[in-house]
C-alpha cells in the first residue's frame, strides 16, 4: 500500500496531470496539494498532512521567501499543484514558483485600469484552477484565464464597470466547468452579484443579483418606489463553498449601502449580510439566511462558509458553521438553511440575542447618530474576512477574533453618485481598521486579537490565544493537531489545536493577512504564509 502510494506520488511529480474538478472535489485525498482557496470545497482549511507535529514543530526552519514587488498587503492564499505554487503578487500579477525552492517559473502581469477604485487596498486573495488554466478576478472587475504552464493569457472578460465602483479581490471558486466570482464595491453603491463564467470561454453562464429586482422575492425588503435597491451594495469579496451532495454553492454577502446611514433604505435589505445557497448549475436561490437584517454597522457577512457533517443533538447533521462579523457564531442546517444556534463569541451590544426563528433581537439606541454611538463589535467586527478553520479531529471551530473591540458609529448624509464613496458615516475606533502601525502602544483592553476555539455543539469557547494587537490572519489546522496563524503583532506561530498552547513562533516582521496553507513536495511537508508583502515557507530541519 505504502509502496503504491509512493509510486503514485512519484508519478504525480514526474507527470503532473491537469487539475480536474474531480480532483478538486477529492482534494483531501491529495494532501500534498492545495487545489482550492480554502483547501477543499467544504472550506475547512484543514490539512490532512501530519509530519509536522506538536512535538517537532519547534524544529521548523525557514526554507525560502518570495518578496513581492509590491508594498500592498499580501492577502492571497497560494495554490499548490504537484510541486508548483501559484499565487498573486498585488495587485494582479500571477506568479508560478517551484514550491520547494521558491524559484520563479513565470510571472503574468496584469495592469488593472486606473478607473478601478477599491475601498480598502489594491489587494487580491488568490486564484482558482481547473485543467491547465488559472483564473484571477482583477481589481478592475475583469475575470481572466491564464495558462498554468506558460502564464499566457487564454481569455479576459469584463465582469462589471470599475468606474462605477465595481472591483474584484475575491479568489474565484471552480465548480464543475464554471468559475464563480462576485464583485466588491459595497462602499460605492454598487448592486452586488455572484456570477458563474464558462471556464473554457469566459462567457457568463448565470448571474445572481444579491439585491432582488422588481417582481423578485425579497425586493419588498427595500423601500418601494425608490432606487435604493439599485445601489444598495451587498458585495461579494470572499470565496464561497460547495456541497457536492446538494449541488449548492454558499456565499457570504456584504453590507447594504450606504453603510452607516440607513434612512433611505428602510427594511431588511435582502440579501445583504446574508448567506445565499445557490444551485451551482443555474444560480437559482435555494435558501438564504440573513445574519444582520437592516444593518447599520457595516457587518458584512463576507466570511468563508465552513461546511461539516457533525452529530447535532444526537443525530448526524450536515451543517454550516459561521463566525460572523456581527459577533455571533452560528450553526445552520446547510440543506435547508434552518437556523440551529447563534451565540456571541465576542462582546455584542447591538443585539440582545437571537430569537428562536433566527432573527436577532436589536438593542435600542444602537443605530449610528450624528454625535456617535459606541457599539460592540466595532466596525471591523468580531471577525472579518479572515479564513477560519474547522478540525474534524478536535471537533473545534477556530476563529480569528477582534476581542474587546468597539467603534463609535456616526451618521452623515449620503447621496448616491456613480463611482463615488457612498457610506453615510465614519466610524471611529482606537484600533485602526486597515492600517498597520509599526508600533503598538495601545491599551489591549481597547481591542486585542485572539484565536478563539469554539465548540460548535454548544457555542462555548474552549480556549483562547491572546495577541497584543488585532489579527487579519487566517487559520490552518492539520491532522496532527497543530494550528497555524499570526496577527498584526508580526508573529507567525503554531498552537496546539487541542488546548491553544503556544508551540513555536517566529517574528516575520509584519502583519500576517492571509490564511496559511500546508503542502508537500517529495514527501516533505511545508507550511506557507504571507506577512507584510512577502511569502514565507517553513519545513522541518532535514
Amino acid at each position: 500500500m505504502t509502496r503504491t502510494l509512493l509510486l503514485l506520488l512519484l508519478i504525480g511529480r514526474a507527470f503532473a496531470a491537469d487539475v480536474t474538478f474531480d480532483r478538486i472535489l477529492r482534494a483531501p485525498q491529495e494532501p500534498q496539494n492545495w487545489l482550492t482557496h480554502s483547501g477543499s470545497v467544504l472550506s475547512q482549511r484543514h490539512s490532512p498532512l501530519q509530519d509536522i507535529t506538536p512535538e517537532n514543530v519547534k524544529d521548523l526552519e525557514l526554507q525560502w521567501i518570495f518578496q513581492a514587488r509590491s508594498l500592498e498587503k499580501f492577502e492571497a492564499t497560494p495554490l499548490v499543484v504537484d510541486g508548483i505554487m501559484y499565487t498573486v503578487q498585488a495587485p494582479n500579477d500571477v506568479v508560478a514558483m517551484d514550491a520547494a525552492t521558491g524559484r520563479i517559473f513565470w510571472i503574468y502581469s496584469y495592469r488593472p485600469s486606473p478607473d478601478s477604485r477599491p475601498c480598502c487596498g489594491r489587494v487580491n486573495r488568490g486564484l482558482a484552477i481547473l485543467g491547465d488554466t488559472l483564473f484571477m478576478a482583477t481589481l478592475d472587475a475583469h475575470l481572466i484565464a491564464i495558462d498554468t504552464k506558460t502564464g499566457a493569457l487564454n481569455w479576459n472578460v469584463q465582469v462589471a464597470k470599475p468606474e462605477a465602483g465595481y472591483a474584484m479581490s475575491v479568489a474565484p471558486l471552480v465548480i464543475k466547468d464554471k468559475v464563480i466570482i462576485g464583485t466588491a464595491g459595497g462602499e460605492y453603491g454598487i448592486r452586488g452579484f455572484i456570477a458563474a463564467h464558462d471556464a473554457k470561454t469566459g462567457k457568463e453562464a448565470w448571474r445572481f443579483y444579491t439585491i432582488p429586482g422588481p417582481g423578485e422575492p425579497g425586493h419588498e425588503t427595500w423601500p418601494a418606489g425608490t432606487d435604493a435597491w439599485e445601489h444598495g451594495g451587498a458585495s461579494i469579496w470572499v470565496t464561497g463553498s460547495y456541497d457536492p451532495e446538494t449541488n449548492l454553492t454558499f456565499w457570504g454577502v456584504g453590507n447594504p449601502g450606504p453603510d452607516w446611514n440607513s434612512d433611505e433604505r428602510p427594511g431588511d435589505n435582502l440579501y445583504s449580510d446574508s448567506v445565499v445557497a445557490l444551485d451551482a448549475d443555474t444560480g437559482k436561490l435555494k435558501w438564504h439566511y440573513q445574519f444582520t437584517p437592516h444593518d447599520d454597522w457595516d457587518y458584512d457577512s463576507t466570511q468563508i462558509p465552513v461546511l461539516a457533517d457533525i452529530t447535532w443533538q444526537g443525530k448526524p447533521r450536515k451543517v454550516m458553521m459561521w463566525a460572523n462579523r456581527n459577533g455571533f457564531f452560528y450553526i445552520l442546517d446547510r440543506i435547508t438553511g434552518q437556523y440551529l444556534m447563534g451565540k456571541p463569541f465576542v462582546d455584542v451590544t447591538w443585539a440582545t440575542g437571537i430569537d428562536e426563528t433566527g432573527r436577532p433581537i436589536r438593542a435600542p439606541g444602537m443605530a449610528p447618530t450624528r454625535e456617535g454611538v459606541t457599539v460592540s463589535p466595532g466596525v471591523q467586527g468580531g471577525t472579518n474576512w479572515y479564513s477560519p478553520s474547522y478540525s474534524p479531529r478536535t471537533g473545534l471551530f477556530y476563529v480569528p477574533t477582534w476581542a474587546s473591540y468597539t467603534s463609535s458609529f456616526t451618521k452623515t448624509p449620503a447621496k448616491y453618485e456613480a463611482g463615488r464613496s457612498f457610506t453615510g458615516g465614519s466610524p471611529r475606533s482606537i484600533v485602526p481598521s486597515i492600517r498597520y502601525p509599526q508600533v503598538n502602544n495601545r491599551n489591549p483592553a481597547d481591542g486585542y486579537g485572539a484565536v478563539r476555539a469554539i465548540d460548535p455543539l454548544t457555542g462555548e469557547r474552549k480556549w483562547e490565544f491572546k495577541m497584543a494587537d488585532v489579527t487579519d490572519a487566517g487559520i490552518l489546522t492539520t491532522a496532527s493537531d497543530v494550528l497555524f496563524s499570526g496577527g498584526r503583532d508580526g508573529y507567525f506561530y503554531a498552537l496546539d489545536a487541542r488546548n491553544g498552547e503556544l508551540l513555536w513562533k517566529v517574528n516575520v516582521g509584519a502583519g500576517v493577512a492571509s490564511g496559511p496553507i500546508s503542502y508537500s513536495v517529495g514527501g516533505r511537508q511545508y507550511i506557507a504564509v504571507t506577512a507584510g508583502s512577502s511569502l514565507f515557507t517553513y519545513a522541518l530541519r532535514k
Binding site: 514526474a14 507527470f15 508548483i84 517551484d98 524559484r103 520563479i104 517559473f105 504552464k149 499566457a152 479576459n156
Partner: protein, 255 residues
Amino acid sequence: MLRRLPLLLLAYSLTLASLLAQHGYTPADVEDGGRLFRANCANCHGPDGNFIPGIDLGRNRFKTASTDSDLVRVIRIGVPGTAMPPNNYSEFQATTIVAYLRSMAADEARAGALGGDPARGKTWYEKSDCATCHRVKGVGSRQGPDLTEIGAIRRAGELERSLLEPDAEVLQASRLLQIAAKDGITVTGIMLNQDAFSVQILDTKDQLRSIPRDTIRDQSFVTKSPMPSYRDKLNAQELADLVSYLASLKGAAAP
C-alpha cells in the same frame, strides 16, 4: 501563384541587402536596435512607431529629421519643447535604432505590396500544422512561442521573416535549452529562469521543472529554431494571408 514567391523573396532579399548595404547596417545592428526600440521608444511611439500624430517611425515619416545622422542626433539630444527627451545612448546605440527604423520601413513597403486576408490566413493556420507547436488563446501546443499577442509585439515584416527564415532571429524567451543530466538523461525545454543552484524550464512534455545544477553534466542553448522554413510551403498570397492573420492577433479579448 507559387512561382511568384521566389520572385518576391528575391525582391525581399535585394531590398534588405541593398538597404543594409546602402546604410552600412548589419542584421545584428537591426536586431540590437529593435531591442532598444521596443524597450525605450515603443512606450511613447508604439510598437509600430505610429502613436504620435504626424510621426510614423515605421514608415520613416519624421517631423524634424530625414538623414540618418539627423535621426541619430534627435535620438540622442531629443527635441526641445516637445515630449521627446534627450537619451543617454552612445552614438553607436542610436545608430542601431536608426538601422531598425530603416528596416521597419523596408518591411512595411514589402508587406503593403501584397494585401493579405486575415480570415484566409486563419484558415490556413488551422488546417496546417502550426498548432502542433504554437498556441493561440489557449488552443494548441506550448512548445513554440504563444501567438495570442504576437501581432502586438512583432511587426508584419518580422513575422514574415520568422516564417521564411526561422533561424534568423530566435527570441530570448523562446530559446530551447538542452540539458544533459549526470544520469545520462537529456532534457530539452524553454529556459524560464536560473540561479547559481538550479535551472527552471518548461520541458518538451509541458512540465515545469526546476533542475538542480549539481545534477547537470552539460547544458547548451539550441541555436537553430525548431521551426521549419515555410519558404516552399506557402505561395505569396498564402504568406501574405498568414502574416496578416498573425498580425491581427493582439491579445485575448472578450469572447
